[in-house]
Amino acid sequence: MALYSEKVMDHFRNPRNVGVIEDADAVGEVGNAKCGDIMKMYLKIDNDTVSDVKFETFGCGSAIASSSMATELIKGKPLSEVRKLTNKAVAEALDGLPDYKMHCSVLAEEAIHAALDDYESRTGKKTE
């Protein structure tokens, strides 16, 4: 009955991979302050694999939890797999989100895709 699942609250209270990677190989930022949610993902990429990831988020509890969970889901994963990350996977990994908060998981997906796009345009490589 609680607003958020235990998982969401855990990732909200103890977000994993918070912060900045100064020399990131890819950066993705989505959302805007007007809507109340901004997510920024920093990726370190070695051998087509996410070797490190950090995030910054301005947003509600589920936005922070979604960012945190998304970083966990892609850390150490090959880019081709990262490309396939969906918002549904993020939400499921969090044991669900309230309907009206699903857009937070969408933002997380988009932030990661934006970072991959950034990587493609920096390197000319394809990630899918």
């Binding site: 918070v18 949610d37 920024k40 301005f58 947003g59 509600c60």
Partner: protein, 402 residues
């Protein structure tokens, strides 16, 4: 003294709802046990219940200088607001007057009731407020037209606590011969109200905002105004509000209101000092700002915006630290829009998302506020620590607003 178990929480959401007073709980329990008769019945047990509600009606009327026959019990503030508005609309419609004046910062109960009237062909003029959140009485004067049937402006705002120039608006409406309703849900029991002196034609109140029970409130309607029913049925409330009377809640509401009245002056003084202490404390947070007027506000209300963070995450982390607060309008409704009140006082979306309302009660202590100030400071700092907005602000990529 408020009843019940002491939570090891710091409850600063008294604008949303208050803890019932011990006396109100006692009265509620007394009536539930001993006065369950139907007040509309002939027999003694019913007539005793009737006496209880009529005594309550007298007491409540006394507090706002109304006469008992001008008080209609409702299930709360929302119902009272809705009934006041349909009452004025019905009168207006009969006279071909289909224009209503209101403010941009009304509670949803008023706002949405008016929205419905709009769909039915009424024209609604929404007056702006100053950046301090106060309606300009000159605007009211100018907005009133020949076909205006109602001015409805709240007594005190529920989010930013600003007190509106009610008696001035009352005088204008009286002069112009237009009905004046005020949503006084946040004000009744907290600031002195005199419906006669302030020329108020209709007034809404809700008991759970002044340490009374939930699910009960009242609508004051000046004698001579024909009340429209929202709930049709039996002959209760002189035929204007059907439903078996909620005797225990009505009586407990009267008890709570009398208590509130008795302590009003002293509490207001104490609360105003605490409020200003809290405002001072929070002002120490960089790039923050008080919402609403610093002086013309409820003694219990503090509302801030903090740049670079979002309100919900702030609230959740404050809850972890034992602090019950809200972001302004209590709402997990799924609406992701920032408060219409904050937008009305000129806060842009970016900043309006980062709001915090702390509302005090007579039981709030300085120690609790110290803890709250500390917790808010730490939490705002923590959230800014990984806010991309805050980073951009500091990097000069975005301009500070506050």
């Amino acid at each position: 003294m408020k009843g019940g178990t002491k939570l090891d929480k710091i409850y600063l959401d008294n604008a949303a709802t208050t803890k019932m007073s011990e006396a109100a709980i006692k009265e509620m329990t007394r009536c539930m046990n001993d006065y369950y008769g139907n007040p509309s019945s002939l027999y003694t047990v019913g007539q005793q219940a009737k006496e209880i509600i009529e005594k309550a009606r007298e007491e409540i009327a006394g507090v706002i200088n109304a006469s008992p026959k001008e008080i209609y019990f409702t299930s709360g503030g929302s119902e009272a607001d809705n009934q006041a508005i349909i009452t004025a609309a019905a009168i207006g419609k009969r006279k071909g007057k289909m224009h209503i004046v209101t403010s941009a910062i009304e509670h949803h109960a008023v706002l949405h009731a008016l929205r419905r009237l709009k769909n039915e062909g009424f024209e609604i003029t929404e007056l702006p407020v100053s950046k301090e959140g106060i309606v300009n009485k000159e605007d009211v004067k100018k907005a009133i037209r020949d076909d205006t049937c109602l001015v409805t402006v709240m007594y005190a705002n529920n989010e930013i606590g600003t007190l509106q120039p009610v008696s001035e608006i009352g005088a204008i409406c009286k002069e112009k011969g237009v009905l004046f309703h005020t949503d006084a849900v946040q004000a009744v029991g907290h600031v002195p109200i005199d419906v006669k002196a302030e020329n108020i034609d209709m007034l809404s109140a809700s008991a759970h905002k002044f340490h009374g029970p939930k699910g009960i409130g009242f609508l004051y309607v000046r004698k001579g105004i024909i009340v429209s029913n929202l709930i049709e049925g039996g002959a209760q409330e002189r035929g204007k509000r059907a439903g078996t009377e909620n005797v225990p809640a009505i009586s407990a509401m009267a008890v709570a209101l009398k208590e509130a009245e008795a302590g009003m002056k002293e509490n207001a003084k104490k609360l105003t000092a605490l409020r200003d202490y809290l405002i001072k404390g929070l002002s120490g947070i960089p790039h923050s700002a008080l919402n609403g007027d610093a002086k013309k506000r409820l003694p219990s209300n503090v509302n801030f915006c903090f740049e670079g963070i979002e309100g919900e995450s702030l609230l959740l982390l404050l809850d972890d630290k034992g602090i019950c607060a809200s972001s302004g309008s209590a709402c997990t409704s799924g609406s992701l829009d920032p408060s219409h009140v904050l937008l009305a006082i000129g806060r842009v979306h970016d900043v309006a998302h980062g709001s915090l309302r702390l509302s005090l009660s007579e039981e709030t202590t300085k120690e609790e506020l110290d803890a709250a100030i500390k917790a808010v400071k730490e939490t705002v700092e923590y959230l800014r620590g990984f806010s991309p907005v805050w980073r951009d602000l500091n990097a000069g990529k975005l301009q500070f607003i506050l």
